[in-house]
Structures are given as structure tokens and as C-alpha cells.
């Protein structure tokens, strides 16, 4: 295996998982969203979303604030600066690996 390929192993596995990638994409696109919105956008079940959010929270990528709005439970999620940084790095790596020419082309321009 070439060193270039081995670099792929350095991908952030917390973000690399498709469900968490979806969650991070939504949370990086908006400043905050609640559990219900994320569930509808990502098409995940409650349990699935909950476990993925917990993993992202453990990694410090997502900040979760639990509370109540009247009688309804309200879970507001937002991406942390570490999360946004990790996400940006992930996107950068993916783009560089997918199309290195695109990168050099842009740098030239």
C-alpha cells in the first residue's frame, strides 16, 4: 500500500460514518437545530439519532442542550468550533484525495 493510500486511514472516523456525516452537515449549515428537525432531515430513527448525537457529543463536536418547551421536551443541538474544524478538515481531505488536480488548479488561480 502506498503512503498516499495509507493517509486515508487518518480520516476522522467519528465524522466519516454516514449518519454522523449527515448530522454534522446539517449542524454546520445552520447555527442550531432541535432533535425533531435533525430526525426529519436525516431520516433517522429516534434511537439511532440519539446514539449518533451522543457519540458526536463525546467527541466534542456537538453541543446538546436539553430542556422543555411547555410540556414538550426540547433538545437543541449545535456544532462546536472543534466540530466545525474537524468537519472542514474532513471535507478538505476528501476533496484532496478525490481530485488532487482540482486543488492545484484552484491554487494556481
Amino acid at each position: 500500500m502506498t503512503p498516499a493510500l495509507q493517509e486515508l486511514a487518518s480520516l476522522d472516523r467519528t465524522i466519516h460514518e454516514p449518519a454522523r456525516l449527515m448530522i454534522m452537515t446539517v449542524l454546520c449549515a445552520v447555527s442550531e437545530a432541535d432533535f425533531l428537525y435533525l430526525q426529519r432531515e436525516c431520516g433517522l430513527t429516534q434511537g439511532n439519532l440519539s446514539s449518533h448525537l451522543a457519540k458526536l457529543e463525546d467527541a466534542g463536536y456537538v453541543f446538546i442542550e436539553k430542556g422543555f418547551k411547555g410540556k414538550y421536551p426540547l433538545t437543541i443541538c449545535s456544532s462546536t468550533s472543534a466540530g466545525r474544524h474537524a468537519f472542514r478538515e474532513y471535507v478538505q481531505k476528501m476533496q484532496a484525495w478525490l481530485d488532487p488536480r482540482q486543488k492545484t488548479g484552484r491554487n494556481r488561480s
Binding site: 486515508l8 449549515a29 442550531e32 476528501m94
Partner: protein
């Protein structure tokens, strides 16, 4: 995961795992923006606001005091419309289909645009921003200029034709918003407590 699996994952269609590209990020952002309008509440409030203003503009022909009320209604509308929309959304939309941060009035204050531009030449080349960025001062200046231009038009054409046009537009917007809200309410029932 094998390299082949990773390759497939990277090359699959835009709606799946490659959703991290700036284009998909922009799509997620535009979905959040359209979510703000999906329930019809903004159109309803704006229409109602326009109709109120049209009434006072139309009444200009009847007395000098209505000028004060016209200006008061305009500036109150500008200052309070967002609050009224959020008040209604808190009770109607968010319990049904979830909450997402409303789109900013002034793009420059929105933190997430920094995401793709910060120390990142490659991603900065992507069209991350949905529109022109206007500062708060610029926005206030723009509103004042538009208001002055509108007043000039009212004095030129006369208050009544302008009132009728504005009132019709407001009525249309209110009806459009109300219809959208009814459809939204039918499609999304309030969850059981």
C-alpha cells in the same frame, strides 16, 4: 472499510454520504432557509403588515394625523414582524416539525459562513454564500432609502392608488400565507404530549 467501498462512498449521489461537500452544505442551508417560509407564517405576517400600511396610506387623503400613524405602523412592522413570526412559530411550527435557527436578517452576522472561508483556500472557491452580505448599517441605510423613495412615489402618484396596490399585494400575500399554513397544519399534526 475497503478502499473500493470508500471510493463508492465518495462517488455516490449527492443525497448520500458525500453530503459533506460545500454544495451539499449549501443545500442544507437553503433547506433551512426555505423551512422558514414553508409554514406560510412569514407570508401571512408580511401580507397583514402590508394591508395595515395600505389602510393608513389610503387614509392620508382624509387628514394630516394619518401621516404619523402611517410612519408608526411602518416602523413598528419593521421592528416587530420577526418577533411575531417567532411567537407563532414557537406555538405552531416548532412543536410539529422541529426547530432550526431562523435565517439571519443580515448575512454578515451569520457565523457559519466563516466555516468554508477560514484558512481554507480550496473551499473558499466554492460558492458558500447564498447572497450578498450586507452589514447592519448598510441594511438600515437601505431601508431608509427605500422608505424615502416610497414616500416620494406616494407624493408623486397620490396616496390612494398606492394604497390600493399595496393593499391588494398584502391581501394576496395574506391569502397565500393562510393557504400555506392550512396545508401545513393538515400535513403535520401536533404530536401527542
Amino acid at each position: 472499510m475497503t478502499i473500493y467501498g470508500l471510493y463508492r462512498k465518495l462517488n455516490c449521489d449527492a443525497d448520500s454520504a458525500m453530503s459533506s461537500s460545500p454544495t451539499i452544505l449549501e443545500k442544507a442551508r437553503s433547506r433551512a432557509r426555505s423551512y422558514w417560509r414553508d409554514d406560510g407564517i412569514p407570508a401571512l405576517i408580511r401580507g397583514f403588515q402590508m394591508m395595515c400600511w395600505a389602510v393608513f396610506i389610503y387614509m392620508l387623503g382624509y387628514g394630516p394625523h394619518s401621516r404619523f400613524w402611517r410612519d408608526l405602523v411602518f416602523w413598528l412592522g419593521i421592528c416587530l414582524d420577526r418577533g411575531v413570526m417567532l411567537f407563532l412559530k414557537n406555538r405552531i411550527t416548532y412543536p410539529r416539525t422541529g426547530y432550526v435557527a431562523p435565517p439571519p436578517r443580515f448575512q454578515a452576522t451569520h457565523d457559519d459562513f466563516v466555516l468554508l472561508h477560514l484558512n481554507d483556500d480550496d473551499l473558499a472557491a466554492e460558492p458558500a454564500s447564498p447572497g450578498p452580505k450586507i452589514s447592519l448599517v448598510g441594511m438600515v441605510a437601505l431601508v431608509l432609502a427605500a422608505y424615502a423613495a416610497f414616500l416620494a412615489l406616494v407624493s408623486l402618484v397620490g396616496p390612494r392608488p398606492i394604497g390600493v396596490v399595496l393593499g391588494s399585494a398584502g391581501l394576496f400575500s395574506t391569502l397565500y400565507g393562510a393557504t400555506k399554513l392550512l396545508i401545513y397544519l393538515r400535513q403535520n399534526r401536533r404530536p401527542v404530549e
